[in-house]
Amino acid sequence: MPVDQKRINGPESSVPYNIYIHSEIKNKGIQPDAPKRHDGRSNNELRNIFLKTGIISQAKGSAYIEMGNTKIICSVFDPREVPNKTGYCVQGELFCEFKFAPFSHHKRKMHQQDAEEKEYSLILQRALEPAVCLQEFPNFQVDVYATVLDNGGSALAAAIMAASLALANAGVPMFGLVTASTVGIYDHTYLVDPTDTEETFCCTKSVPGTVHNHGIIIQAALPQHGQISEMFVVGSVDTDTIVHSMDLISEAHKDICPLLEQCLVKTVFKTFRPNIKKTDTK
């Protein structure tokens, strides 16, 4: 690999220390039959969600989301002309960039976008596009940047929600809000909103022949219209499982959507009555 001349470089190769941890000390993954999950949730439970808009003053719109340990920051900028484009385009474009911060992952991420991040960028774009009134800004593109500061699982779903909030915060015309959620499947266990360890467990730990169903389903939807905007499946799952997990996900969407709405309402209140909270700030 050629050396990146635009950064300060360390040694040619280095290894994370985690690989030398004694295997007995490493936690033994997930017991599928246990009544409670590692963090004390039941299988259908979502983690706490914290949302905040307007966190980046330099951006047109921005949002910050926290789901358990997952922390994502997202910003949206003014529409600008699509670069290197000849001819008129009736619809505007969304440009999405999804990035893991180098320190956000169990294993250090490289600075350049890797294949996974590029794929996620594309999914993010496809999940958001149906919700944005693209015909409102022909020949222009809106840039959406999402950065994962800390990956505690379900990062893509969280990024989709943060991005949709940021778009709304930026005043980009939209048909509705986009919510997204993740289900991890292992055999007959459905883990809603999995953490990163659960995600890796669902993706990799399958002994051939013993378990048929394992994988992750991410679904983005416009719950206000009852529409699905993007669906992303990894692993091998049969159709019944998909149907069942769809039910789970739509339940989750119903829970999440009011939160996004509330958050936006708060933002609006704050804009018009900025003095309202002065009394209760100490």
Binding site: G40, R41, E45, L46, R47, N48, I49, F50, L51, K52, I55, Y64, E66, N69, K71, L149, D150, D255, I256, L259, Q262, C263, K266, P274, K277, K278, D280, T281, K282
Partner: protein, 387 residues
């Protein structure tokens, strides 16, 4: 910036000159420009000028792991840099096609012809070998970059001395110059490149200048060593319209003679500089300073300047201690490993604003508390709730 196109006037003029067997700078067709070599104070650094074309070469070395298929050989890497300094149409940053072409030709000439004894660069087989890196920077482009670069590479390689190492099984010790004298590289033979350009009328010239390179229709570069052996050959039609008669046989003899003479000159120059270094004699070497001619109107040579400075007087500085320190501030600690510094102004308006912008109260948060409704969230800006 794009290269300025050549005018028809210039083209016709150059073509006509060549037809009449004269050249713009008054040379004969097969006469090269004068070569000057200056060495720097470090080993393996030299500046070569071939007429107005100027190049700087520097050889450096470090210890690396060898390639797996050649475990007992050192490595050579040749890098040619065509910066905008040489000519404005070169771009900095990425390697242009021209730079790749030159470095490939040099690689053929020096690396593939095995002129450097790579086995002597091995320290511990399969573990540690010397890796040579030759950087060639062109500083002025007046045609025939390849010849100039090859002279610079050869001179730099002959001049270069590497530190001595001792291997004690596991560890290796690199000796600084004060402990053990540096060692020169072993060269098996001494190749240089000689270039020719053929014109529309069939005349071939040696050592073309920039304008001649642009008018010519075919170029030929021969890598020759002092034993009249061919190390590399590059032939290219610059325009697709002409067929050129057999130039190679016509000029190769001349090239070989010139190469022998050139290598002899380089050897002498290197030997002179190296000898004077061994004698620790600074008077008679072609250092960079020597490239500046004393009598020219555009040059200036000065000697050490001795200066008497006024003593620095501490009282000169006005006392700035009276900087008004009225920005009182207080530190607020929050539970989750965070703290804030907030200025307390006398001005009440400012106070409210500053509070509002930095501190958002808990009422901003919306928490979906399915699992643990009792848990209280204290969230300040970006705060974690991990533990």
């Amino acid at each position: 910036m794009r290269e300025v196109p050549l005018t028809n006037c210039e083209r016709n003029f150059v073509n006509k000159c060549i037809e009449e067997e004269t050249r713009l700078d008054g040379r004969r067709l097969l006469q090269p420009r004068p070569v000057k070599i200056y060495f720097g104070s470090k080993w393996g650094c030299c500046m070569v000028s071939l007429g107005h074309t100027k190049a700087i070469a520097q050889v450096s070395c470090d210890i690396r792991q060898p390639k797996t298929f050649r475990p007992n050989e050192g490595t050579i890497y040749i890098n040619v840099e065509l910066a905008p300094l040489a000519a404005q149409h070169f771009e900095s940053g990425r390697q242009s096609e021209a730079a790749i072409l030159i470095s490939r030709q040099l690689e053929k000439c020096f690396k593939d012809s095995k002129c450097v004894d790579l086995e002597s660069l091995c320290i511990v087989a399969d573990k540690k070998v010397w890796s040579l890196r030759i950087d060639i920077n062109i500083i002025n482009h007046d045609g025939n970059l390849i010849d100039c670069a090859s002279i610079a590479v050869l001179a730099a390689l002959m001049h270069f001395h590497r530190p001595d190492v001792t291997s004690t099984g596991e560890e290796i010790i690199i000796h600084p110059a004060s402990e053990k004298d540096f060692l020169p590289l072993t060269l098996f033979h001494y190749p240089v490149c000689v270039s020719f350009i053929t014109f529309e009328n069939g005349n071939t010239i040696m050592d073309p200048t920039y304008i001649e390179e642009r008018v010519g229709v075919a170029e030929l570069t021969l890598g020759m060593n002092s034993y009249r052996e061919l190390c590399s050959l590059h032939f290219d039609y610059l325009t697709k319209t002409m067929t050129v008669e057999d130039v190679i046989s016509a000029v190769s003899n001349h090239a070989a003679n010139y190469a022998t003479k050139l290598v002899q000159d380089i050897k002498e120059a290197v030997a002179k500089d190296v000898q004077s270094r061994y004698k620790k004699d600074d008077s008679d070497t072609s250092r960079f300073k020597e490239s500046i001619q004393t009598n020219k109107i555009t040059t200036m040579i000065s000697d050490h300047i001795s200066i008497k400075l006024q003593k620095w007087d501490e009282t000169m500085i006005e006392d700035h201690a009276e900087i008004e320190n009225n920005n009182k501030s207080c530190i607020i600690k929050h539970e989750e490993g965070s703290a804030e510094l907030i200025s307390v102004f006398d001005d009440s308006i400012n106070k409210e604003e500053s509070f509002n912008s930095t501190y958002d109260s808990d009422s901003d948060n919306q928490c979906l508390e399915l699992s643990n409704p009792e848990k209280k969230h204290i969230i300040i800006d970006l705060v974690d709730d991990s533990d």
